[in-house]
């Protein structure tokens, strides 16, 4: 059930990704909503879960784009795994954690991606990655706040129903 919910979320992210207005692009980059979902959910989980979620998100993203399917799967699997390792050393509830993690994981992910698929202009690739880091960090904060808020409300409701 948990995986089905996440797959549905990833498909919603894919739908939003394709329709994000171009005039909102930052340094030629647009936010990667599928990546945002991956980071938000794999940060709080075990590395294995992150890797599996990364694999699924790479499969969905690569299939939708229609190019470099293998690169999408490999990079997202690695990032999901790394993301799962992050929260053991840092305080996961601090909103800075998902923001900073999303930014540097975007950098690693896109770095790996351009190694596998070298772009024709390195300078433009760098500016695109910077834009994407900023966007992904921002949307991860928003998405993380929404999911965390929902989770804490659910826990409060459970406690209330148990003791009151």
């Amino acid at each position: 059930m948990r995986y089905i919910t996440l797959v549905i979320l990833l498909l919603i992210a894919a739908g939003l990704q394709g329709n994000f207005p171009s005039f909102l692009s930052l340094f030629g980059a647009k936010p990667d909503f599928i990546f945002v979902v991956l980071i938000t959910f794999s940060l709080d989980e075990e590395p294995d879960f992150g890797a599996i979620l990364g694999f699924i998100s790479g499969l969905i993203h690569g299939s939708v784009v229609g190019f470099a399917l293998g690169s999408f799967i490999i990079t997202r699997t690695i990032i999901g795994f790394i993301s799962g390792l992050v929260t053991t050393r840092v305080f996961g509830d601090n909103p800075l954690v998902p923001v900073v993690s999303a930014a540097w994981l975007t950098l690693v992910c896109e770095g790996l991606f351009i190694i596998l698929n070298p772009p024709s202009s390195f300078f433009m690739a760098v500016s695109t990655i910077i834009g994407k880091c900023i966007y992904n960090a921002f949307f991860t904060l928003v998405f993380y706040a929404v999911t965390k808020g929902r989770e804490s409300r659910r826990k409060t409701f459970q406690i209330q129903s148990k003791y009151i």
């Binding site: 498909l11 919603i12 894919a14 739908g15 939003l16 990704q17 394709g18 329709n19 994000f20 207005p21 171009s22 692009s25 030629g28 980059a29 647009k30 990667d32 075990e46 590395p47 294995d48 890797a51 599996i52 990364g54 694999f55 790479g58 499969l59 969905i60 993203h61 690569g62 299939s63 939708v64 784009v65 229609g66 190019f67 470099a68 399917l69 293998g70 690169s71 799967i73 490999i74 699997t77 690695i78 795994f81 799962g84 390792l85 992050v86 053991t88 050393r89 896109e110 991606f113 351009i114 698929n117 772009p119 024709s120 202009s121 433009m124 690739a125 695109t128 990655i129 994407k132």
Partner: protein, 277 residues
């Protein structure tokens, strides 16, 4: 990180990465056949409902912002458009006359068109974007006669090329995609080169000689080399030029006329008949 790393197994990510390599290799093999587009069809089908909702929402916002424009701005735009229609109508008459004259002269010289093209009207059904790729899908495929490599245009000019064809849909790679390459030339000087997408809003025209006659605001059109994309389709205009004295080459950054993110309807130009002269 240590405990968590010890508890978890590194085997699962390694297996998944290797599996990803096989899936990627297999996908590339099948991409030339129809199977590649079937997987894409499935992914697009699954994300279609949300895609439709977001697309409707964004277009509603765009329409709403248009609707609240002040009357004065609409009147000014109307005046400008009327003037433009008048200018284009005059130009159209001159061009029609030139076309007739061109055909008469070609007949006199015994020249024939080496290739004929068939236009297929299509509608964009989904857009698949990432930071590195810019592709979209249209609702016409093999059954309508679309072939791989066919040019896709709209009212502004060349938009992209068909890269994969299914029975009822086709995948189009936009000009700005980093996998896109089109033979192009400067309309004014006829200097020829190759136009590559950059994965950004601009393209780069390369393989121009170091003394190529090119300047800013020059119009770039398709050169027709390869006889897949018809000659003379407008692509964009030059925004900046880079000359490399050491390598002896010139490159130019091109801004496309077609607004890739605003495309709704397109024409697929299929090469259908080759006539030997």
């Amino acid at each position: 990180m240590g405990d968590k790393f010890k508890n978890s197994t590194i085997v699962i990510p390694i297996i998944l990465v290797i599996l990803g390599m096989f899936i990627g290799a297999g996908y590339n093999q099948f991409k030339s056949s129809q199977y590649g587009i079937y997987t894409q069809d499935a992914a697009t089908f699954l994300s279609a409902p949300t895609s439709y909702i977001f697309s409707s929402a964004f277009s509603f916002i765009a329409q709403a912002s248009d609707a609240v424009r002040p009357r004065r701005a609409i009147l000014r735009e109307n005046k400008e458009l009327k003037a433009r229609v008048e200018k284009l109508s005059t130009e159209n008459l001159i061009l029609k006359d030139c076309n007739h004259e061109n055909q008469r002269l070609r007949n006199l010289l015994g020249l024939q068109e080496s290739i004929e093209y068939k236009n297929i009207a299509a509608e964009l059904i989904s857009r698949q974007e990432s930071s590195w790729f810019d592709t979209f899908r249209i609702n016409k495929g093999k059954n309508s006669g679309v072939v791989v490599g066919a040019a896709v245009i709209n009212q502004d000019g060349l938009v992209g090329q068909v890269v994969a064809v299914g029975h009822h849909t086709s995948q189009v790679v936009a000009l700005t995609d980093m996998n896109s390459s089109v033979a192009a030339m400067v309309q004014r000087s006829r200097s020829q080169g190759m136009l590559y997408g950059q994965g950004t809003d601009f393209m780069i025209l390369t393989y121009l000689p170091k003394d190529a006659d090119i300047k800013e605001k020059d119009i770039i059109v398709s050169s027709g080399a390869g006889q897949v994309i018809p000659k003379g389709i407008c692509i964009g205009e030059v925004v900046s030029i880079q000359k490399n004295a050491v390598a002896g080459t010139t490159a130019a950054f091109i801004k496309p006329y077609a607004k890739i993110d605003q495309i709704e309807h397109v024409l697929v130009i299929n090469p259908v008949k080759r006539v030997s002269e």
